[in-house]
């Protein structure tokens, strides 16, 4: 501790020129980026028109969803892979395994408990709506998943428990469920002799809906797992300090 304080003091003495230099460097870099944006006259490929022309083949009517889950769906596949990896890294780095938040029961007011009970069904319905509306207007699996994750975290922070603890493998299966469904659809299209995630014609709408629905569950639980890992240890530390 003392060493760190001394280090900080030394730093405050010695670092008077460095921030100025750094600021100048960052400013120069910003000006360079701005100038390069102004001067480069690249004729852009009008991807919007291409997407608009191919939209009727995609199974959905929202261009962003079409790009995310049809035209460039391998991006989304890898992105969900990153999410699953992050969730498992966080789970393996923390000492307590499953999301069990136990805030002090005395500090939870009755207003909070009532409000959470009122809000949770509304938020889950909003999540479902966002999932369903994603095919024609802004929305989709990630938005729906984050709303549902917020509802679950509110529940956990208000002292309620998620019924996911009992079989130990249940949470892990649900965490990877969306990714597995997406991956098996991708492998299925390859085995059918098409290119990766090239949906069979006429099936794309229903396949996108299935993938998004399973992804919503997985994303919600991954976000809860990623957040709750930290809160657990904090409450435990606080309890140990109090003792």
């Amino acid at each position: 501790m003392e060493k760190q304080i001394r280090v900080n003091q030394e730093k405050q003495k010695g670092f008077k020129i460095k921030p100025l230099f750094l600021a100048l460097l960052c400013l120069t870099m910003g000006v360079c980026i701005g100038l390069s944006l102004q001067t480069t006259q690249v004729q852009p490929v009008d991807l919007a028109v291409i997407v608009q022309n191919e939209l009727h083949n995609s199974g959905v009517t929202n261009p962003v969803t079409a790009v995310l889950l049809n035209f460039r769906s391998y991006d989304t596949l890898l992105e969900v892979g990153v999410l699953v990896l992050a969730a498992f890294s966080v789970i393996s780095l923390r000492t307590v395994q499953l999301p069990r938040l136990e805030p002090d029961k005395d500090h939870i007011g009755s207003v909070q408990k009532c409000l959470v009970l009122l809000l949770t069904p509304v938020m889950i319905v909003i999540g479902g709506y966002l999932l369903w509306v994603g095919s024609e207007s802004p929305g989709g699996a990630f938005q729906a998943g984050s709303v549902i994750a917020a509802a679950l975290l509110l529940l956990l922070l208000s002292g309620y428990q998620l019924p996911l603890q009992h079989p130990k493998w249940l949470l892990r299966i649900l965490l990877t469920f969306g990714f597995c469904v997406f991956l098996s659809v991708a492998m299925g299209t390859v085995l059918m002799g098409r290119s990766l995630i090239e949906y069979p014609s006429g099936w794309s709408g229903i396949l996108i809906l299935i993938i998004e629905a399973t992804l919503t569950i997985s994303i919600a639980l991954i976000l809860v797992a990623v957040v709750s890992g930290r809160v657990i240890e904090n409450t435990e530390c606080r309890r140990q300090n109090a003792e």
Partner: protein
Amino acid sequence: METMSLKIFYSLTSIALFGIGMYALFAYAHLLRKILAVNIMFTGISLFLVATAQRSSDSNLDPIPLALVITGIVVLVSATAFAIMMVCKLCEKTGMTQLPDEDR
């Protein structure tokens, strides 16, 4: 013409955000500040992508930068969670919130 100047305004704001984030990334030794700096840099990049999503045609937004931003947000969230977890572990093991080679 008005949308054009708005686009330039957003682009300049995004460059400023990127620069501020980069400055914070280099200037501060505390790892949590570095994580926040990366988040601010990402905000600049995504603002730039969204600002340039409307390019040549008047009506159609280019959906590909928007999809990239959505993908990027998710990757940023998972990377931030992992990084914060690593910082917590580092703090737990060594009691330091910065990397040892930074205390010159």
